[in-house]
Symmetry: C2
Subunit: 396 residues, 2 copies
């Protein structure tokens, strides 16, 4: 009925969108840019999900001042400064920037997104120097994806082309940043998706909600949620093609893969682990137990130590408050039985196999509570010395 296949890089193949990133000196110049844009040659639809943190950053408040259903033709992004906890001044600073930018290019409801340190005003002068240097007709997804990185060790971008039965096709491209402050309440990250699909306006929100729930809402690096988290979908209808089911599947796929990239890039992380809780009394309890596992410091350090210490898994489930029973509980690492009522102690052979599984770059921890039929999977990573180092030294 339809085919979804990955094509090159990130945003460049999506019709009608342009992007570029430059370095204005907020970040050490040889690494990457620090200011970037995505623009649509005509005003496009925009749907966004923002952080649940009560202290939403200035760019989010600025966005929310536009009337529901507004269209935009310009998204400005910067790294190194979150423009958060900057009060009314932080919002005025955005307007001032757009006033200057408006002298270079025609703007319709321009929006901004920022990431970096909290509590400092944007450096207007530095950022404004980008406006003369941007190539507004560029499709440089690479410089754009690099310019929004903070502690990321690699850029994150993806593109899918979706071919429909009738020969029509559309594209979804995305860039994303995130490595720490990742919690399953959207995770601390920015993700910008562009598409030339001809999406009806009324579909936009539901499509983005489902894809986000299946991806960014299921990953944890350190259980923290930032002031700036954003997932944004920009759609300009340019291809004239659309197929709801195909679009949803492709969007789910793209956001899920980006979420896994964030985990793999988790600050100091070496392993990607899926925590699958099954047999829970209800979905809420499955989710609670699964998220407790992906957030537990003791589980995360045991993963780093490659120690098949299933007691920490059991203890974390017990501490999470969900209904559980040690006679119905079973724990598997991939397909290896680690704990059940009958096999409470790991014999040498199974322990040896468990070590092997834990040495993999990614594996599954499956906990069946044996009390019902609800299940939930979240994704986490190990916690290494490197995490502590990165976060002890971040601001300096």
């Amino acid at each position: 009925m339809f085919k979804i296949f990955p094509i090159k890089n990130g945003l460049e193949n999506v019709l009608g969108f342009y992007c570029d990133g430059v370095n204005v000196g907020m970040r050490e110049p040889d690494t990457a840019g620090d200011v970037a844009f995505i623009r649509s040659d005509e005003p496009c639809m925009v749907e966004a999900l923002f952080t649940r943190n009560k202290f939403q950053a200035a760019p989010i408040k600025h966005f929310q001042r536009y009337p529901d259903g507004f269209e935009t033709n310009f998204l400005l992004m910067n790294a190194k400064n979150a423009n958060a906890m900057t009060g009314e001044q932080g919002i005025e600073d955005i307007d001032a920037l757009f006033e200057k930018l408006g002298e270079k290019i025609s703007l319709v409801n321009p929006i901004m997104s920022s990431t970096g340190v909290i509590g400092y005003r944007l450096n207007q002068e530095k950022i404004a120097t980008a406006f003369d240097r941007f190539d507004y007709n560029s499709k440089n997804s690479d410089t754009t994806a690099r310019a929004i990185m903070t502690t990321d060790s690699f850029k994150k971008e993806l593109c899918f082309k979706i071919e429909l039965e009738d020969g029509e096709s559309f594209h979804i491209g995305a860039i994303c940043k995130g490595a720490g402050m990742i919690n399953p309440a959207m995770a601390t990250m920015l993700c910008f998706v562009t598409t030339d699909a001809d999406i009806p306006k009324e579909d936009m929100q539901a499509l983005l909600l489902e894809a986000t729930e299946e991806s960014f809402n299921r990953i944890s690096v350190d259980g923290d949620t930032s002031t700036n988290d954003t997932v944004m979908l920009l759609a300009n209808k340019r291809s004239g093609a659309y197929h709801k089911e195909a679009f949803q599947e492709a969007l789910n796929k793209i956001l899920f893969e980006l979420a896994m990239m964030i985990l793999k890039d988790g600050e100091g992380a070496n392993k990607l682990v899926a925590f699958e809780v099954t047999g829970a009394k209800n979905l809420q309890e499955a989710q609670t137990a699964s998220r407790a596992l992906s957030n537990s410091l003791l589980v995360k350090t045991a993963l780093f130590g490659e120690d098949p210490n299933w007691g920490r898994i059991a203890s974390t489930i017990g501490a999470s408050g969900v209904a559980c029973d040690d006679t119905t509980l079973t724990i598997h690492y991939d397909n290896l039985l680690i704990y059940s009522n009958e096999f409470r102690e790991l014999d040498e052979e199974r322990e040896e196999q468990a070590y092997k599984i834990m040495k993999q770059e990614s594996f599954k921890v499956v906990c069946d509570l044996g009390l019902g039929s609800a299940s939930y999977t979240s994704y986490g990573c190990d916690l290494s010395y490197e995490y502590v180092k990165i976060n002890a030294e971040y601001r300096t």
Copy 2:
């Protein structure tokens, strides 16, 4: 009206109680013991608070099989093995041990407490060798306190003598273990308090609840709660003296000081920080925000890095879900203003002062939400490389 003063060591001055610890080879012999006891020469009252973890360890289930209000004359303790997730067998193992022990000394409703690794049966033979080696008439608080240590780097014991106006006096002694898996839902620890005060049975529970709420329920090392957490009060009335207010004050003091010792010994921790949240709409919200701070990985690593990055403090409060507003919020480190609506950016002078405060071994982070009059203080520590090392390598 009454005087409370510290006297030597832990349990040895409390009338009618005896204790000793030996090494039976579960721990490397040169460091400390691994099996210990506390006994009362006549059956004494016992009140205990246990972990909220759903997977309560076998010794806790064994305790709960006795009828309400039972008296005991013997508490057996061991380290290195939690006897948790061991099922019915774990409880039978305790009974079997007490059958052997009963051949050496008369037992009335004996109880047990264990700490260590989850998921292995107790080594009956090794533990039973202690029964021949215990000095049942010893008052060796030192060997007893050392025998319950796990990742603790120092033993924890305290004793207070309380002198009443009429010249009468009584004692409260305590030993405690804990360094990691510490969360404000009693913390992962064992604490045993003995007293010769003539407490009416009906006062026991309220006294212990209040003292625990003000101490162990307010500390966090890593946000995890174990299967074995126990705070236990053993009272034999031997002194004939009692004064409720004096007892409560002394018990609060002793448990608070032990809780602070746990934090100072927090795995790899270098700093003790009080997180005082004031001006909250209600107590629940003050507690939620305060605990979010003491549990946050990003706050803890910033403390380790001695970085006055108040953005992480603000962001954590915002993410905790409590009502808050960046125009009414103020943040102080000790008495230094770090953030307010008027002073959103740290100038160089205040930043310099903030560095100095953060270099101290202990200091206060005070967050006034400016929305009400409720307040709550919890206590936490920094997160260092050492924490990761200890917990990656724990079981081996």
